[in-house]
Amino acid sequence: MFGYYLDLAWRSLKRTPILTGLMVLAIGLGIGASMTMLTVLHVMTDDPMPGRSAQLYVPHLNPLPLKGNFFANGYDPSDHLTWPDAMALLKAHRARRQAALAAGYLLVRPAAADLRTFYVSGRYTTVDFFAMFGVPFEHGSSWNEAEDSANAHVVVLADSLARKLFGDTDAIGKMVRLGENDFRVVGITTDWHPSPLFYADERAKRYADRDLFFLPLSTAVDLNLNTDGSVDSWGKMPNGDMRSATTAWLQFWVQLDGPTQAAAYKRFLIDYSAEQKSLGRFQRPATDATLYSLMGWLAHENLVPGDVRLQMWLALGFLLVCMVNVLALLLAKFLRRSGEISVRRALGARRRDIFVQFGIESAVIGVAGGVLGVLISELGLWSVRHRPDDYAHIARMDASMLLTTLALAVFASTMAGLLPAWRACRVVPALQLKTL
């Protein structure tokens, strides 16, 4: 029967090409607009570390005094740790792996005469960073535990920076001048850039930035190297002392195996806060301390700009209007065929058959609308990619979103067809046949 209903639907749609075109256009536009914005949202909230993200957590302490306006810059300074707190968590070693990190921005002075000086972004961090995030090395390795705490002048370079500075020769063991200091290259990573750059702070362009060098945090603090992230101080002005207990600027990540360890770590954070409170350093309740999962952290950081969300709601509202539009048109179209329905009913078709027949007709419109919707959303994504925003370049549709588009289109048009199909199958045959 399916083939027969498909044939009927095709004939019926062909009979009213303008109306059919209008309905397909409505579904296509609604789906196209919605899927453009849903795809943008999908890629922006994607898991940056598939397979690893479930083990990664961010500890959150609150060393801020009770009084004061700390949110002037639109974020919470306690999202970052102070140097003493970060060092305490590192030394406690309660997680399988833990790393403190901060953004760096340094001037590179290439030895090669034909290269001008330039700035690069990178990360100051501790040794567990590489194993915890699974940073792939092309040559060499990270610095070791001893170098990590000994303010060693060592650096790990990303492949693209190593190539730029040293060409195709092996860069391991070579010296590179960053800022005013020389660093020995100990490792080269492949170009590794999770999207979003989840471990960076809110100052970063997290969909565009990438780290081209990594060097020990202790060395960076020792040399007072330039940091490129948020630095928030309260209490007495610490005059640029990054080791100050009242300056929050470090990001901190831990790797924990499973929820039991996570619960234990959270308890540890609360105990630590209680201890700090009894020492008079923290003022807020110890239970303010908490632990974010990676995805929970990204949600907390609210990476998606308000405008993108607003545009998504606009697109979904648009889809709703399109559906109502199709619903009204289908109702008119189906009821106009009361005569035809009555003849079929008189010849023995059950109400269910009529319902299925019209259901299939709306689904056919959905499929056509879905195909149009895919084209329109490709067009929409193309225009998004031409925005100058940092997320623009990742706005691409993948296979799963493509299938979602088609499924959503068929779902939307079938939903819109439900009421009209139901009304159609309630047509009283006798009344209609009389007028024929």
Binding site: M237, L310, L314, G317
Partner: protein, 406 residues
């Protein structure tokens, strides 16, 4: 009117659907128009400087962030920039409207009284000739005198700050609501000890960045001898801007080959870049709104045509018993007016609700009721336009149809 309503009762579902579609369209379109108006107003807000006659640049020495030697070449740089063809004047400033980085601090209405503070007030600093070069218009009071420019860097200790300031109208209103700010004194520094006397007021001067904490244009200008590590702002004849921007990095690197020119922009591009997100938003809103209106109109055309076709016999009968073409036309137009009005009434409530919901989530302003009226007029016109074709077709139905049995 009564027969129209009773006739509508026979098509309850369809009528409800059309009214619902109109209502949804009305709610969305009204809010979209409001958003468009809001963004357009933001883009058109005057920056307070001569947008089309400025070029700016920023350099960094090798010791940026470490030694503080950056800007030692400032005097030589300024002389070199001044010598470029097409350049009328050069100043150093701490920032330009919409240029990005800014510095803000608390100011006090009473000396040393923390309770009288106003937080997050943006501080602009500029070297002699700043107002003239940037094209900032003093609406009340006067420009700085040359002797008022002093050696001052807020990050250095032991320097006496300037004693006069020019403030924006917004800051004046917040410091002393409803009073004449000229000659009044406010205090800055972390303890509120340094007095600043207001010598001038400017009506427009946007902040280097626009956000919730610092607001849009709440700032004061301090006269300093030179802003180290600040921006070079060049007043340039509009036609020469491209050439000046092109040659600028070379002129600056010639003075100190080791440093980098980190920023060099034609100022009107800076302004335009600042608003790119708003422009994208306006574009999206315009496209979606037009599609929405077009689709709604086409939907109304489709349904009206269907009704006309369905009622051909009734129209024939009415015509046969004396109704004129005009009566039939009016009938359909009035029917449309009724349905659209019902939709607009529901839609206006929806629009207000949607606006309240958006206000909670996206820090939007209250929608002025004028936008509701605009949305209503647009939809009324749209409805009438959409029904005109089908209604004219209905009016052409000849009375003889009544006598035909189908």
């Amino acid at each position: 009117m009564h027969p129209i309503i009773s006739a509508l009762k026979h098509h309850k579902t369809t009528v409800v659907l059309v009214a619902l579609e109109i209502a949804l369209t009305c709610a969305i379109v009204t809010n979209a128009l409001f958003l468009i108006g809001d963004r357009v107003a933001a883009i058109r807000a005057p920056t307070g400087v001569s947008d089309n006659e400025l070029v700016w640049a920023q350099t960094s020495g090798l010791d940026l962030g470490q030694g503080g030697k950056a800007g030692d070449d400032t005097a030589a740089d300024m002389a070199a920039l001044q010598g470029m063809p097409g350049v009328e004047s050069v100043v150093t400033t701490s920032g330009l409207p919409l240029s990005g980085d800014m510095f803000s601090r608390s100011v006090y209405r009473r000396s040393g009284d923390k309770g009288s503070s106003l937080d997050n007030v943006v501080e602009y600093m500029g070297s002699p000739g700043m107002l003239r070069t940037l094209g900032i218009k003093v609406s009340e009071g006067r420009d700085f005198l040359p002797k008022e420019h002093v050696d001052y860097d807020p990050f250095k200790k032991g320097q006496l700050p300037p004693t006069v300031a020019i403030i924006t109208r917004t800051l004046a209103e917040e410091l002393w609501p409803g009073q004449d700010p000229l000659g009044k004194t406010f205090w800055q520094d972390s303890n509120g000890k340094d007095a600043l006397q207001v010598v001038g007021v400017v009506d427009h001067l946007l902040n280097p960045q626009i956000n919730n904490a610092q607001g849009i244009d709440r700032s004061f200008i301090l006269p300093v001898a030179m802003v180290r590590g600040g921006l070079y702002v060049l007043r340039v004849k509009p036609g020469a801007r491209g050439a000046v921007k092109r040659d600028l990095p070379e002129v600056l690197t010639r003075i100190d080959p080791l440093r980098m020119v980190t920023e060099d922009h034609i100022y009107s591009d800076t302004v335009s870049d600042f608003y790119h997100g708003d422009r994208a938003m306006i574009w999206v809103l315009v496209v979606v709104t037009s599609c929405l209106l077009a689709l709604t109109a086409l939907g109304v055309v489709g349904l009206s045509s269907f009704w006309v076709q369905q009622r051909t016999r009734q129209i024939g009968i009415r015509r046969a018993i004396g109704a004129t073409r005009r009566d039939i036309l009016r009938y359909f137009q009035f029917e449309n007016l009724l349905i659209v009005t019902a939709g607009i009434v529901i839609g206006s409530l929806g629009a207000v609700g949607l606006n309240l919901w958006l206000m909670q989530r996206y820090e939007l302003a209250h929608m002025p009721l004028a936008w509701l009226a605009t949305g209503a007029v647009v939809l009324w016109l749209l409805g009438q336009l959409a029904v005109l074709g089908p209604a004219l077709r209905a009016a052409r139905v000849p009375p003889v149809v009544a006598t035909r049995s189908v």
